[in-house]
Assembly symmetry: C2
Homo-oligomer: 350 residues x 2
């Protein structure tokens, strides 16, 4: 029996509710398979931990996490009490960076039983490969002067290695899908970073002559996700652009509450982190009404990454069946609570 | 009789077709009013000019333009022949900056007769006020090393003055609308520029105690435009975020081909520039099938800015009537060509 040691960080808000739900589903999936099981270790890090200790995680937090196979995270943030740039850079983004989880993968797919807000969603099914370690998200920058003369500068930093890695990963993924990669650029407005991005895309693309290649500006691409999402297969995007496109992906699926994500260390040198797109949703936290499907689907991505794609498919099928049965939380227009949705997924998982 | 001297830059692609169409409509609007008229002077600047002269506009182009009351521009770009960052920074963005058109205004509104791709568009009606002179769009940055070690840096630069100006403009606009301003941020990922943006928003907001104020991260905000666009009134956004949100605005209206825009020098020290959201669309250029409504609606914004809001309203009504009559170009699902749509608008303008 193979045992996977998973570090669990429920985090804040609804993270604390949806993570245990997804763990139940993953345990059942492992049991059904019979060849592996999970050993979960929960870490109480997040904003409450910060309010008590002044830190989002202990100083040796990263070292601790390195001892696990993977990380399963809920959501981080209590913006009324802890500024986002503290909570996120002290935990979520810190782990992404220090664990070199440089690829963020987020599928968006029209699901059976989940009506899209689009009139004609045309069965879209795409994946955004987001560069996850650099780019626009940087701690490089600063301010000068004060009052009326104040100036703030933020540096976006793109390395060849980081850019190429994301693109290669996108092309490899397209090989097993519908053979097309779209690159999100904005080289008409951002005159240093994005022309560089475009050059690297063209160069990497040369090695993938059989894969279709398109470049779209981020403004047009965002509009296309509303107008014709079905044309996209794999989209490769910078950290910021990927962030925007994947929330849009969640929106056209019917709810951000359902969108899954994986922060991958593709070299498998350190653990990867599986974390849904949605946030901590403080407004509905603690009421037992949060949608667990994003966290459960995120668990499916962990199964895939661990090498159990068939088990992962079973979990996604159970999600779709639950939706088709109409067992949905409020964000999906349903009346079921978190527990009822979780039970339904467990029942549908065979 | 008041005479307005307008510098016309049709630019590239469909710009050359939709600009003359919109001029006809504006001439008729002026005639109906009877108190003013337009005197148009056309400048043949753009990518073809560049291919002949090596410049997008002559060296004294900016000085020339300063002699006019306003600028009416079509679209710029022939990406197959001239790299976007040359064509745009040599003309469109150059004019925006040198004429200090620091505010870009772009309405998005569900129109009668124009079905949105959203199932429930709920009669949305919002305006994006985009900071138009600085921020992420900068010529500040560079590269170091080559090959595998290459690094590209792009600096986003936010000044107090530029940020405050956009926010004040947004709040003033909200006074005459539904009394709400939403600020687009990403202070959880961009740790210098966006916390600064948020601070300025909070400070400026103090002077507008009666105006509702919300801050959303750009990723969530993009998703909200798909899920609940009706909740927004005025959105204030940085250069890049405004760019993305306004293409989304065009998409949910039914076509980017209809979305209008104004680049305003709100101090009225230099001419403002009226330019639709859509680009030069080289794929359909020269065929007489482009949608002129974005350019015509953009003309309405020029009428508003010149002080003729009632005339502007007549133009928008004529657009809506044309759509309601089903006279639409292909991008709106119709079969009419550019000429037929223009004629219909002219007939409906009374
Ligand atoms: C919370 C925030 C920093 C994060 C991001 O922008 O990366 C989130 O939006 C996401 O997409 O995972
Ligand atoms: C063409 C491009 C530089 C421009 C921009 O991003 O400003 C366009 O997308 C727009 O929104 O007017």
């Amino acid at each position: 029996m193979k045992i996977y040691r998973i570090a669990v960080i429920p985090g804040d808000g609804i993270g604390k509710e949806v993570v245990p739900a997804a763990m139940e589903v993953l345990d059942k999936a492992a049991l059904l398979d019979g060849s592996f099981q999970f050993e979960w270790t929960t870490f109480p890090w997040g904003c409450e931990y910060y309010l008590e200790t002044g830190k989002m995680m202990p100083d040796d937090g990263i070292d601790l996490l390195k001892g696990y196979d993977q990380i399963f995270l809920g959501a981080v943030g209590m913006p009324d009490l802890v500024p986002d740039h503290i909570s996120l850079w002290g935990l979520l983004i810190k782990i992404r960076r220090e664990m070199k989880q440089s690829i963020n993968v987020r599928p968006a797919k029209l699901l059976q039983g989940l009506p899209s807000p689009l009139r004609n969603p045309n069965g879209f099914d795409f994946v955004v490969v987001r560069e996850n370690s650099e780019g626009e998200y940087s701690e490089s920058g600063g301010r000068i002067h004060s009052g009326q003369d104040e100036v703030a500068i933020q540096n976006a930093i793109f390395t060849r290695k980081g850019t190429e890695r994301a693109m290669r990963y996108a092309f490899e993924m397209a090989k097993d899908r519908r053979q097309h990669v779209t690159s999100a650029t904005k080289s008409n407005g951002l005159t240093y970073s994005m022309p560089f991005w475009d050059e690297v895309f063209a160069e990497v693309g040369k090695y993938y002559g059989n894969i279709g290649q398109t470049t779209n500006h981020i403004d047009a691409l965002a509009a296309f996700l509303v107008m014709k999402p079905q044309v996209f297969d794999v989209i490769v995007a910078s950290n910021l652009f990927g962030d925007i496109l994947t929330d849009l992906g969640g929106a056209i699926m019917g709810s951000i509450g359902i969108a899954p994500a994986a922060n991958l260390n593709i070299e498998r040198e350190y653990p990867s982190m599986f974390e849904p797109v949605h946030g901590s949703a403080p407004d509905i936290a603690g009421k037992g009404i949060a949608n667990p499907l994003g966290q459960i689907w995120t668990g499916k991505m962990m199964l895939d990454f661990l090498g159990y794609p068939d088990v992962g498919t079973k979990v996604l099928n159970a999600i779709e069946e639950t939706l088709a049965q109409g067992v949905k939380t409020g964000d999906l227009g349903g009346t079921a609570n978190l527990r009822e949705v979780t039970e339904a997924v467990l029942n549908n998982l065979q």
